[in-house]
Assembly symmetry: C2
Homo-oligomer: 339 residues x 2
């Protein structure tokens, strides 16, 4: 699609912007990667890339900054390269290749290490996949409330309450119950988390609709509390990055990251991408606004699914993050193999 030169230029803009956090000019590009053509030529190309939606010009006498589309292009083109220094590699190995008391201990170490090396906020989600749902029951408590009971192979979870002060009759509850069972029996409890409610019901079923939504919310909370563990570390690393030099952004970021619910969702949803690594760039790809999320899926035990990753500004050092996640995934695979 893009000419080779355009690709080179686009990559140069992204690289430059990742490094400096400020608009990249035609001259810089010339100096760094295209000495054999003039800045005017590059300006023409930049202009073309801008109209294609890859670049943004903050104002007329500024350089260009990459759009989210450009970052998407950039990570798609990225070829793996181990850009970790020897110090970093041995730091990681030192921290992880030692005796650990428990899986939780390992996970804590992993989040620590990932956030320390990448300088982003790291998240690890653990889910015990062995325990499947055998039934979901809805119980009308006749006081305007309904109890949602989830039965799994090993446990009965019954913390979820739903207000049903609007009149719902017996039949509707049975309908809802049947629907839930059809959808979720046999699946892992974590399935609730990334379940998006299909809005295709007709208007007739409006009431049922709102009931479903409430139930799904409860299930999501249950899923988090009972099926998954979320470990977060390095929230304060955002202060190192210039996009968070303003309190409003810091606040928004911290409130996103503070919700384990939200994090579990973002870090386990693979967004349809396959492969072990998932990269989400910006809100159009279901990361929080202005943020990117990089995750790597790794088995943390026989039946334990794990997701290790970082969240940070869209202007993220993807190369380094990918290298760290790769290194750590390999260590974990080794560790698990030995046991």
């Amino acid at each position: 699609m893009l000419s080779l030169r355009k690709k080179k230029i686009l990559s140069a803009v992204v690289d430059g912007y990742i490094e400096k956090a400020s608009p990249v000019s035609s001259k810089e590009i010339q100096k760094n990667c295209l000495q054999d053509c003039s800045s005017a030529t590059i300006r023409n190309e930049l202009s073309a890339l801008e109209s294609m939606g890859y670049l943004i010009q903050p104002h007329v006498s500024a350089g260009r900054i990459p759009s989210e589309k450009a970052f998407r292009f950039y990570v798609n083109e990225l070829t793996y390269e181990n850009c970790l220094t020897d110090e970093e590699t041995s730091f990681i190995e030192n921290k992880l290749l030692r005796k650990h008391d428990s899986l939780d201990d390992v996970i804590q170490q992993i989040t620590d290490v990932v956030s320390q090396i990448t300088n982003y906020t790291s998240v690890v989600v653990k889910a015990d996949m062995a325990d499947k749902i055998t039934a979901i029951k809805l119980l009308d408590l006749s006081n305007g409330q309904m109890l949602v009971v989830i039965v799994t192979e090993t446990r009965v979870l019954k913390d979820g309450m739903v207000d049903i002060s609007d009149e719902f009759d017996e039949l509707m509850l049975l309908q809802a119950q049947a629907w839930l069972n059809r959808l979720f029996v046999g699946k892992h409890i974590s399935q609730f988390l990334n379940f998006t409610y299909p809005y295709t019901l007709t208007n007739d079923q409006f009431k049922l609709n709102s009931l479903f939504k409430k139930i799904i919310d409860v299930l999501r909370k249950q899923s988090l509390a009972n099926g998954m563990d979320v470990t977060i570390c390095g929230e304060h690393n955002i202060f190192q990055h210039s996009e968070y030099s303003d309190v409003a952004n810091v606040q928004k970021f911290l409130s996103e990251v503070g919700s384990k619910d939200k994090m579990a969702q973002v870090f386990t949803d693979d967004g349809g991408q396959d492969g072990f690594v998932t990269i989400k760039i910006g809100s159009s790809e279901n990361a929080p606004e202005g943020c990117s999320v990089v995750t790597s899926r790794v088995a943390l035990g026989a039946n334990i699914a794990g997701s290790i990753g970082v969240i940070g500004p869209v202007r993220m050092n993807y190369k380094k993050v990918l290298a760290v996640l790769d290194k750590i995934s390999n260590i974990i695979i080794d560790m698990m193999g030995k046991e």
Copy 2:
């Protein structure tokens, strides 16, 4: 010491500043609390209070803001008044006067409620006081490291490693061990936390000195991990307060609050004050810089010491915080009595 009028004026400045977060002028004071004398008189008094160290004038054409000394005066003079609305009271009761699964559940509810009602960051520290230290052992591992083992009545804790790559001989370790045992045997593990190392050793003992410091650090960590639980909630409330409209302050605050170690220390040390409630204002009273800490001691069970409190800017709504802590302490005392 201060004339009645000076006291009234000083309180008015503090009240006004707590409310508006901006310097208080002589006219405002006249309007709000001293209609029977002129603004000029008040100006004279303000000037006197400033030279006594109670007030600060940011610049010549601004009003006055209270110094930490003024806040100290203010809280000393404060008479208790229940300034909670009925809604707030019933909100608190609703959240706490229900069946709880466990003590940890109760504590989580308490921190939630305190931070929600006060709009500050709330901290609860729990310490099981039953388990006394019976011995502390230092074990030279002959690889430049030393293991610190703490034996309590019920457990043996041996996670603490100290580097002793500098040469320490057997004798010194024995000396150190004896010293530690003399100080801590029979006490609760939480005693490490607020132990401040006495710097009175002679130069001869410089090496021993540095060893002691390292050991105390390890013990402090142990104390936290094994003897106390720290629950924190509402860190993000700081964004509501104007002193944190600048990232640098937010960062400093969050890094202080993020260290459970530090929080446990600040929230359990009573700073020599007696009574159930402790108020620390600013770094001169061992709160973090620019912060105040208000804590209330409460038994959370037969042998379980608890400390409930908030941390926030020195410009804190002390009246409200004290009312909330009082209300909650009473509820807890009731709860514990019933069991």
